[in-house]
């Protein structure tokens, strides 16, 4: 079809541009999160991620070193000297500064602030300061310095480090990761097997009630999941499965089946009739036809559903919370860890961004690696 508009070059140009705009618009949110996950908490709080390549201007409260430990006598005055940046573990340049929360831009770097009595403090652009005064004045707590600093762009792996490698966190994260895999893999494969047989029966076998069953499957596609939670959990506990992997596998199997059967049946119906009829004439049984002919031919649809179900079970929180996560805490999953982090670290964007990115990394990899199968199966399900 590309040749149709090929002659209209200006139009092609417009098309390229609008596609680019669309793609950027769609990528933008994710990129923002991705970039933020590499920034320090300070930087996230003071400038938008789109400005992360420029240097950021921010207001910081420094505190001079503790006078009781650091003051040095010089004649009849006491002096505390040091560097604000080094003591606070930051980098940057000081522009304007002040000694009171009411006047944070009272002085320019290099100037000396006169405070009560003989107390003085001088702050240079590189953070070096000299705080002088009488013995009473240079005591108690370190003087506060309110500075407006310009800090260079800074990217860090620290967020990932503390998320994945920090001993207090990593064990939980690793456990959650493997637990999620344990949930996901069986919950993806089992429904495929069951659905494939059912789909074959609904597509190629003649029996009374077939139309009704198909209608039923289509109908069940729309049942909202939430209403099934309590009756089913009660059932699980009643028959002794309890909360655990078995329960969550069964639940995911049940909830995934309608889509699986629907997709696979639609695909199988579209397979060439001759092959199946020839095989039947040759005396092959349905079981043989199914395993030798239909299954290999249906691979795209099977793969497509597998990806769907994988993404769905990996990203699921609700089903896991109800059917899996029990009071022992041994069976937590990734999404649950993330929401817990959300709960305790509400405003810490660097933690949120990193946690969210860790949780979407695996689905993204799977998605990009297997995308063509997903598309093929989807098409089988909906385009006639």
């Amino acid at each position: 079809m590309s040749n149709i508009a090929g002659s209209r070059s200006s139009l092609t140009w417009a098309v390229h541009l609008s596609v680019l705009a669309l793609v950027l618009l769609w990528l933008f949110p994710t990129v923002g999160l991705f970039v933020s996950s590499f920034r320090t908490a300070d930087q996230i709080a003071t400038s938008g991620w789109w400005a992360s390549l420029g240097s950021a201007k921010q207001n910081v409260v420094f505190r001079a070193a503790d006078p009781d430990d650091n003051r040095v006598a010089e004649g009849d005055i006491f002096v505390v000297e040091g560097n604000l940046f080094e003591e606070a573990g930051r980098t940057g340049t000081i522009g304007v500064w002040g000694t009171s929360s009411r006047a944070i831009d009272a002085y320019v770097a290099g100037e000396t602030a006169e405070m009560k009595g003989t107390e003085q403090i001088t702050v240079a652009a590189d953070g070096a300061y000299r705080w002088t005064g009488s013995g009473e004045e240079i005591a108690g707590r370190g003087q506060r310095v309110f500075a407006t600093i310009t800090s260079p762009p800074e990217f860090t792996l620290e967020n990932y480090d503390s998320m994945l490698l920090d001993p207090s966190n990593s064990e939980g994260m690793a456990k959650a990761f493997f637990n999620t895999l344990t949930v996901t893999i069986p919950a993806t494969i089992i429904p495929i097997v069951i659905a494939a047989f059912a789909a074959y029966a609904l597509a190629w076998m003649q029996f009374p009630g077939r139309a009704l069953l198909i209608a039923l499957v289509v109908g069940l596609l729309v049942v909202p999941l939430q209403l099934a939670l309590i009756p089913l959990l009660k059932l699980h506990l009643g028959i002794g499965i309890g909360k655990g992997y078995l329960g969550v596998w069964l639940a995911h199997t049940g909830f995934g089946l309608p889509l699986a059967i629907y997709l696979l049946r639609n695909y199988m119906v579209g397979l060439p009739k001759d092959i199946i009829e020839n095989a039947k004439v040759d005396g092959a049984s349905d079981f043989l036809i199914f395993t030798r002919i239909i299954l290999p031919l249906s691979f795209p649809a099977l793969a497509s559903f597998a990806i769907f179900q994988f993404l769905w079970t990996w990203n699921d929180l609700l089903v896991a919370k109800v059917f899996l996560i029990d009071a022992t805490g041994q069976t937590t999953v990734m999404t649950n860890r993330i929401t817990e982090l959300l709960g305790t670290r509400g405003g810490n964007w660097e933690i949120l961004a990193t946690a969210a990115f860790v949780s979407i990394a695996v689905p993204l990899v799977v998605f990009f690696a297997l995308q063509r199968y997903l598309v093929r199966g989807l098409l089988a399900g909906s385009v006639k």
Partner: protein
């Protein structure tokens, strides 16, 4: 590691068990129960073939019945009983109570809004993306990038969009892109262009599109009563949507916008619904695009070429030739997204929890079930969702049956 091993074992046992069941049950049927030999060979083959479909179907039917059928019936029962009276039958009392709650009507209203905006937005963007990417060299790359949000969990998506909607006080640097952009507008000519003319144009074209689709439907000929009913419903519905769009356009042009103030987007009543919908549109557009793109490719070249020879411009080709031919696919996409919308829960739950007048039915139901602990009303809400879904269900079933003939 232990858990991983356990998982592996289960895969082997579970899958092996399933396969074993299918294999041995077939074997049993063919060898023992009705062997296709001996004096009754013919009859046995027939009998075996009558039973075999049910062997194939049994696990699926069992699982469907248990995991979806049974909860539906149980919910229906719960919605008619009161647990605090030991499950006594109370008739429609729960429904009455629900109907008298303003929160329920808020949820209904919002759900209607979601039902219109999200499928329309996703389908429109999907169609646009499908048509545009089809003709360029890096189209498949563009497609996979637009498709990508499909893989992102709702929890992840809510974090992503919370960052976008973040608000800082006026005198601080905004870190949410939306507020940063918003503060660039000052009420001048640029603001009028982007914040009034553009949305107005989008709404007007939406109204025009609705009118066009309605016209296409009303034009269809036939004498069946169903068709007339369908025509009447879609006519009324389209008229209502056009009216709403026109009203919204009017509001946009007359509204006084608070330029210069950072906005807390998620707490602006009414408009915050749209900020939540954007998340779902962002996720679902890829799906619409993929399917519509395939449908576009399935259009016979001759029809398009003939139109071009007749002097049709690209827009005409698209709307007159292509869209009508893929109308059935558009409907499929639309209904599929509608289903997702009716079940939408995670986004609202994670971003506003239904506050600031953003309640939707699925979250209302969750609230009633697990927070207010009122299973009667919660189940009644679930039944309402089921009822809203049922037209699609009927339509799906009708199509499935048509296909069988």
């Amino acid at each position: 590691m232990n858990a991983a091993l356990l998982g592996l074992i289960t895969v082997v046992i579970g899958v092996g068990g399933c396969l074993g069941y299918f294999y041995f049950s077939n074997l049993f049927l063919d060898r023992v129960l009705f062997p296709p030999k001996g004096p009754n060979a013919g009859r046995n083959i027939n009998r075996a073939n009558q039973i075999r479909p049910w062997l194939f179907l049994a696990p699926a039917v069992f699982a469907l019945g248990l995991y979806l059928g049974y909860p539906v019936l149980e919910t229906l029962r719960l919605s008619l009983t009161d647990r605090s009276q030991d499950g006594a039958f109370v008739g429609l009392a729960n429904y009455n109570q629900m109907l008298s709650e303003p929160k329920f009507w808020e949820a209904m209203g919002n759900n209607m809004l979601w039902l219109i905006v999200v499928p329309a937005g996703s389908t429109a963007f999907g169609l646009l993306a499908a048509q545009l990417t089809d003709r360029i060299s890096w189209g498949s790359l563009a497609k996979s990038l637009i498709f990508m949000p499909m893989a992102i969990s709702f929890v992840g998506a809510s974090v992503i969009f919370k960052l976008i909607y973040d608000t800082r006080p006026e005198d601080k640097e905004q870190i949410g892109i939306l507020n940063a952009l918003w503060l660039k507008f000052d009420g001048g000519i640029g603001s009028a262009l982007f914040l009034k003319a553009l949305p107005g144009l989008i709404l007007l074209s939406f109204a025009a599109l609705t009118g066009y689709v309605a016209w296409l439907i009303l034009r269809r000929t036939g004498a069946s009563a169903w068709l007339w009913l369908g025509k009447a419903i879609s006519g009324v519905f389209a008229a209502w949507m056009i009216l709403m769009a026109l009203r919204a356009t009017f509001n946009i042009f007359t509204a006084q916008l608070p330029y210069g103030d950072p906005q807390t987007w998620l707490t602006l009543p009414f408009y915050n619904n749209f900020f939540l919908m954007v998340v779902l549109i962002w996720i679902q557009t890829g799906f619409a695009m993929v399917i519509l793109s395939a449908a576009l490719r399935g259009i016979p070249e001759e029809t398009v070429e003939a139109a071009i020879v007749d002097g049709a411009n690209p827009l005409q080709v698209f709307f007159r030739i292509k869209v009508p031919q893929i109308m059935s696919t558009i409907v499929v996409v639309w209904t599929t997204i509608t289903l997702v919308v009716l079940k939408v829960f995670d986004i609202v739950f994670a971003m506003t929890n239904g506050q600031w007048q953003t309640q939707v039915l699925a979250n209302y139901m969750f609230d009633k079930l697990f927070r207010a602990n009122d299973w009667g009303v919660g189940s009644a809400a679930a039944i309402v969702i089921m009822l809203l879904v049922s037209p699609i269900l009927v339509w799906n079933v009708y199509n499935a049956r048509k296909e069988m003939r």
